[in-house]
């Protein structure tokens, strides 16, 4: 099953690659349409749009999913239900492809809902309490987006068909289009975990690591970004897009800070994904969908690789994910640490790795456009924070003292996992330059002052120094987390956002239902029905018991009574 699926997806990737090259060389885009039914001036059609963008994205999705399936052969080796995982992953890829190629809102909904449902099934793949909670949070957060898409489908019925791409130019200033684009943005925000909905992404790390590598880093979460890229013509003048800019920059900043306080290896990587999603969303809302797509692709490569390295480490450490138990691992797992470091540096945007080409372009565009100081500062702070948590992670996991147990035997000899990682290693080294030379060769004329151009380098150096300093712990050093406890726990727990979307929402209802439970279930209804009837019957039977138990007394009493009556009757 594993090998067949890998083979299938790999060839699907190759086909996509050839078609992509053919399409982009000839400037083609193909639109298929089958009419299913047409009534009442409304046509229901199944349509497929193939252009270089959808083919390229499909190629990346199928490449990552094929190596992830190859990787799970070894990672999930002891799993009894491996086939279930493979089938779920294949269904996931199918939904993703459906979402990518459809210019039609109904088939987008099918893909979108499929993604939500299958990601729920994948999060609860391990059946413990943590996974169940995480799965419920994931499913319900994504459900908001599904509902938004459903409402968009209802609204777009006004135009007579669901092929939204036909209405971009003509209906742009329509009021209905305004509502539609607002809802689309909310839907994309839930899928891409932007700020009010961010808590599900770190929680979804309860899924198995290969799933995190495919679903929660590179494909599912970028579905929202992809949808907004497709809808971009419509949204660009909207006011709410500016709000999205604000929210996405805050997401980027918040997750950058939280990643610095986090100790769970997978959650750190998830938070860095969140930060990169914020980056994509923000450059999208600045009006550069192509650069957002570029970053989406390069990010997918190195983030999937990062998760796979984390998987190797977790496997080796007997399921331990807490980086406080790790340290000095680069001595034992040189090849994995090579992959981890390259993907991490690519994430930081170190020159000539894949992340550099997209991230540097984004930052240059931000500097080049005249936005306010807050946008500017938050962008550069978040870039610095990325380097900050990356260096902290490398210091904790790879460099400092070993922290787990007295006797250990760690090694790096699982070649199935390593092979699949090397494919992605190759891609995260080269995909940035490949894409920027062949596809995104827009003649952007960027003209910046010297210091502004070097701003990225400055914040990176500052971030790396800080990352080194926080992970260095002297024997007499005071714990900074303890000194600023309240602030730290606020930043540590993602600005209390998980509490907001779990306890915060359920508290009111649970509290109210407890009051109802106490007053009605255990209170009045108990008095008047169950317990009350019982009490009445009990009291009566106690009362009658007096007569039953006191036969002799009653006999005497009635004798005396009759005697008195007779006495009165005869003598008075």
């Amino acid at each position: 099953m594993c090998f067949n699926s890998f083979f299938f997806l790999f060839f699907f990737m190759l086909i996509n690659f050839f078609f992509f090259v053919y399409f982009i060389m000839n400037g083609l885009s193909v639109f298929f349409e089958w009419e299913i039914i047409s009534f009442n001036s409304m046509s229901i059609v199944m349509s497929i749009l193939l252009d270089w963008m959808s083919l390229l994205f499909m190629m990346f999705v199928s490449l990552i999913s094929s190596v992830v399936i190859f990787y799970s052969k070894s990672y999930m080796n002891s799993e009894l239900n491996l086939n279930r995982l493979i089938i779920l992953v294949l269904m996931f890829v199918f939904s993703m492809v459906l979402l990518i190629i459809s210019p039609n809102l109904i088939s987008i909904l099918l893909g979108w809902d499929g993604l939500g449902l299958i990601s729920y099934c994948l999060v609860i793949y391990y059946q413990n309490l943590k996974s169940y909670n995480a799965g419920m949070l994931t499913a319900l957060s994504n459900r908001i987006g599904d509902v938004m898409i459903l409402m968009v489908i209802c609204w777009i019925m006004n135009y007579g068909s669901w092929n939204y791409i036909f209405y971009f130019d003509f209906m742009k200033n329509d009021y209905v289009m305004f509502i539609i684009s607002f809802m689309i943005i909310i839907a994309a925000m839930t899928k891409s975990a932007q700020i009010p909905f961010s808590s599900w992404l770190p929680a979804a790390m309860a899924a198995p690591t290969p799933v995190s590598a495919l679903v929660h880093s590179s494909t599912l979460v970028t579905a929202g970004v992809y949808l907004l890229i497709r809808f971009n013509y419509l949204l660009i003048d909207m006011f709410f897009f500016k709000v999205l800019l604000f929210l996405s920059i805050l997401t980027m900043f918040m997750s950058g800070i939280s990643a610095n306080y986090e100790f769970d290896l997978k959650k750190i990587i998830a938070l860095s994904t969140l930060s990169q999603l914020g980056l994509m969303m923000s450059i999208l809302s600045l009006g550069f969908p192509d650069i957002a797509f570029f970053h989406l692709l390069t990010h997918a490569m190195f983030k999937a690789l990062l998760f796979m390295c984390a998987g190797v480490i977790i496997h080796m450490m007997n399921d331990i994910q807490d980086i406080r138990y790790m340290g000095g691992l680069s001595l034992y797992i040189p090849l994995t640490s090579l992959c981890l470091n390259i993907s991490n540096l690519s994430l930081c945007g170190i020159p000539f790795l894949s992340g550099f080409y997209s991230k540097d372009l984004i930052l240059e565009m931000v500097s080049f456009n005249s936005f306010n100081l807050m946008v500017f500062i938050l962008f550069y702070l978040s870039t610095g924070l990325t380097v900050f948590y990356t260096f902290r992670l490398i210091m904790y996991v790879m460099i400092s003292d070993f922290n787990l147990m007295m006797i250990y035997n760690l090694y790096d000899e699982d070649y199935i996992m390593l092979n699949s990682m090397f494919v992605l290693l190759f891609m995260s080294l080269l995909s940035g330059s490949f894409l920027s030379w062949f596809i995104f060769f827009y003649p952007y004329m960027i003209y910046l002052p010297f210091n502004l151009k070097l701003m990225v380098i400055y914040v990176s150096i500052l971030g790396s120094i800080l990352g080194f300093m926080v992970s260095n712990m002297g024997i007499y050093s005071l714990n900074k987390l303890l000194l600023s406890y309240n602030l730290s726990s606020f930043l540590c727990l993602m600005w209390f956002m998980p509490n907001l979307s779990t306890y915060g929402l359920s508290y009111i209802y649970l509290n109210f239902s407890q009051i109802l439970f106490k007053n009605i279930d255990m209170g009045w209804s108990e008095i008047y029905s169950g317990k009350g009837i019982f009490n009445i019957l009990k009291n009566y039977s106690v009362f009658y018991n007096i007569y039953q138990m006191n036969n002799f007394k009653i006999y005497l009493f009635s004798f005396i009574l009759w005697f008195m009556i007779l006495f009165i009757f005869f003598f008075i």
Binding site: Q127, S131, D264, D319, I320, Y476, S477, N479, S488
Partner: protein
């Protein structure tokens, strides 16, 4: 039901429990072993200072203060072992034991007649094999 105390803890047990939880909390803050050892010694010193306290009212107050301090300084991300309760891999893979199948309802069993027929046969063979190797069990070993 969870609130019902199932046993009375002595004061010493309460103090020991507090000490252990405080150490685990320190472990979460100070992740290098030698730094943790230094902090643990400092913590031990704080506990030892009042070890010989004979005034129970004061000792109780100290315990209460200690619990309060631990609660206020609880690490936001406590350090759990992966397979312990609260850890990431706790009860991740639970394989139901084989005897669960014996407790299926007869109607449920009737849905897989061949399997259960074979299973009964296997059980008999297993008992026969066991008795052949180790002999029949004594009557006095049979409790029920």
């Amino acid at each position: 039901m969870a609130q019902i105390p199932l046993g009375v803890k002595t004061h010493a047990q309460k103090v020991c429990s507090l000490y252990k939880r405080a150490l685990r909390n320190l472990e979460a803050y100070y992740d290098r072993r030698h730094v943790y050892r230094y902090q643990a010694v400092l913590l031990r010193e704080r506990f030892d200072k009042h070890a010989k306290e004979t005034n129970m009212i004061k000792a109780n107050e100290l315990l209460k203060e200690g619990e309060e301090e631990l609660f206020l300084k609880q690490h936001p991300i406590p350090k759990y072992f992966a397979t312990s309760p609260g850890g990431v891999a706790h009860e991740r893979v639970v394989t139901p034991p084989d005897w669960v199948l014996d407790y299926w309802h007869p109607l449920e069993k009737a849905q897989y007649p061949e399997y259960f027929k074979k299973r009964e046969q296997r059980k008999k063979e297993f008992v026969a094999m066991w008795e052949k190797e180790y002999g029949k069990p004594d009557e006095k070993d049979k409790h029920h």
